[in-house]
Symmetry: C2
Subunit: 151 residues, 2 copies
Amino acid sequence: MKLGRLNHIGVATPSIADSIAHYRDTMGATQITAPFDLPEQGVKVCFVDTPTHSTGSGLSESGGTQIELIEPFDESSPINGFLAKNPAGGQHHVCFEVPDIEEARAEFEAMGKRILGPTRIGAHGTPIFFLHPKDMQGILTEIMETPKEAH
Amino acid sequence: MKLGRLNHIGVATPSIADSIAHYRDTMGATQITAPFDLPEQGVKVCFVDTPTHSTGSGLSESGGTQIELIEPFDESSPINGFLAKNPAGGQHHVCFEVPDIEEARAEFEAMGKRILGPTRIGAHGTPIFFLHPKDMQGILTEIMETPKEAH
């Protein structure tokens, strides 16, 4: 395993609409995707792009670690418990990229890390899985295969 | 306000030594700074570098959003409360860069956002301040001036 790109941080929110307004109006984000449903994961999702550089000639508006806003899709959403404890929302997970999802899964399994459910297609359209926070320093950790066309 | 680079995510830990081992041995990080004390902020700190690209010609080992590991410096550390609630550690804050810290502070104040304490020098040696999580969608948010030599 070689540490991959921090693709996004997952932020749970009771209202994607309110969170979009926050990132746009308070924080000054300019690149925010339209929200879409991921019913099989029980969430509505959108991404806020962050720049790779803040100053100088490298000024950019995207390409950095994204903020993934996630709102419950329905009553059975896996993030309902998190929002019950954190009604205003908050930091829910982090997501690192790997070049090969099956190889990564085998490596984490060999290390005895608990994997939460099957490998499935995530919000970026590539395979993902989640690792148990108790095995990952208290952090729910998503592993995603790097999109082929990206970067 | 224009959204700046996501400089780092702050991760609280009961043991920086254990967390360094986790990021090195489990996650495969290769660039981790030596821990250092920030007694005025009540924490010990080190940074795990993440790459900007995971695949292809842009393969890198640093330049992405960093993971800031923070361990209590003493009994009065401001992160003791967080660790009491989250004994294994977890996601503590996020930090965005701005080109001018005083300008940013004035803008957040004008928006009625609560700022926690004075502007002070942070772990990267540039001025920083924190915004109250209740005003920031449940997320303790650090604002830091971009290092002049960086990026």
